[in-house]
Symmetry: C2
Subunit: 111 residues, 2 copies
DNA sequence: TATGATGCCTACCGATTCTAGGTATCATCA
DNA sequence: TGATGATACCTAGAATCGGTAGGCATCATA
């Protein structure tokens, strides 16, 4: 819909969520905002993508969740990176770097 | 299966195929080899991914195909980038650059 | 003669993101 | 007061696309 918004590539969302949480505990809606803000409005995660992803990630033990009330007085579900999640973030970042490197090589090829 | 082989992210295969063909007409099997070689063995496209992708890409008019006999005397289906395919490659490369930039920004964030 | 590389293909699976809905609270503004 | 938009959670279903696993044929080589 948005004019210049790039759709995420499958496989990058988990890394972005984990990265957002590595900066501190946060609730779902806030994760979307943090990713949007950090990316200079370039990345917009849809709610319909985020919540199922958070569920998956929690099942895998990469984050833990608890309900709490935040400063505005509203209830929200706060997610926190686990030790295993931090490890996973490192792995995903390394994979991402390898992929970017590999694709860069292919793109540098000339006739 | 391969120990260090990175699975492709969804959305990158088309770009790689188009890029491989931008270096010159090639048959399917050769595209796999060219991508593997250009990426220093880091990217391995499976046949079961390639042929359906080539079909999709051909339907979209980004490549044209013809059967021919190559130097080894064997028959093969040769694919060639169309003008529209070249344009598409540029678009996909630009999208890729934007995504990499956006993700880089997110990853640079510090506590 | 059997194996592996080359060359094409298809059917189905699995994973993941998006679209499109739903619910509720709260602040703001007409 | 009533409507709207932002915040906050969720689900169902569609669509996409890469992988796995199979099939088939030819050719060179061991």
């Amino acid at each position: 819909m948005a004019k210049d918004k790039a759709d995420l590539l499958q496989g990058t969302l988990d890394m972005l969520i984990l990265k957002a949480l590595s900066l501190g505990e946060l609730h779902g809606y806030g994760i979307i905002q943090r990713i949007r803000q950090l990316s200079d409005e370039m990345l917009n995660v849809e709610q319909g993508s985020l919540y199922p992803a958070l569920y998956r990630i929690e099942q895998k033990g990469w984050v833990s969740a608890r309900w709490d009330i935040h400063e505005t007085g509203r209830e929200a579900k706060f997610y926190k990176l686990t030790r295993s999640g931090r490890k996973q973030l490192e792995n995903q970042e390394a994979s991402w770097d390898r992929l970017v490197l590999a694709i860069t090589k292919v793109r540098q090829a000339t006739t």
